[in-house]
């Protein structure tokens, strides 16, 4: 048990690994497009966490810069992806990812 005011670096990484795997699980076992999308966001967050942890470990800003970029890209992705989801729902009246299996209906 380390002293109270110091967190082992690896714990952060373990946490991010757990979150990432949770995201993967969500992606694999959920059928709702939106939920799947959110699982992707969860994975991104997990990666961000390890980025920031490493930037702390290496005493460099770059990790946080990458996190920043990841966030921006995630925002863009969310905008477009949700728009796509809207369109899909309009065209097929379903959000189940297994039914959306052909490019044209």
């Amino acid at each position: 048990m380390p002293q109270l005011n110091a967190v082992p670096m690896s714990w952060y990484l373990i946490l991010s690994a757990i979150l990432f795997s949770l995201g993967v699980a969500g992606f694999l076992f959920r059928r709702n497009i939106i939920t799947v999308f959110m699982s992707i966001e969860l994975m991104l967050n997990a990666v961000n966490l390890s980025f920031v942890a490493f930037s702390q470990h290496l005493r460099q800003v770059d990790g946080q810069i990458f996190t920043f970029f990841v966030m921006v890209v995630a925002a863009a992705e969310a905008a477009v992806g949700l728009a796509i989801i809207l369109t899909v729902f309009k065209n097929r009246q379903t959000l189940s990812i297994d039914e959306v299996s052909s490019l044209k209906n």
Binding site: L4, V7, Y12, A17, V52, H57, V61, T67, A75, L86
Partner: protein
Amino acid sequence: MDLILFIIFATIAVACGISLVVQKHPIGSALSLIGVMGSLAVLYLLLGAEFIAAVQLIVYAGAIMVLFVFVIMLLNAGEETIKGRSWPSRLLGIPLLTVFLGLLAYLLQRMGPSMGTVTFGAFNVGAKEIGRSLFNHYLLPFEVTSVLVLIAILGAIVLARKEIDKCLN
């Protein structure tokens, strides 16, 4: 102190993550994702990344997830229906996932001890440093990202304009 905070918020994060996966209703997943993000923001603070923590709240929790919730409400997405099958995910999903986790755990425990510990305030990065490095060293990626965002905006408008109008009135 740090350790306690870390444990608290890590637990919250993991719990929310699990609930994201197991929640029946998308809104539930969305809220649990927000929970994850919030606790991650706190962890960022612990890691001395104030700016990133704030941006995490603003961008992720404040903008992206609002969009998610908005869309979920808009489509009034209900409980998900068991229709269609994906044999690969059924057969390979669980084993692959376990193997994945195992490998990650192995690698981590191998590199873990050499990593040392994090104490709060050891290395704080404020907005100034981020900005400096962003606008000097990472200027080109920044500009490119801005273009990407512009494209995304256009695409979103083109894709969803009619739908949103229709659903709003």
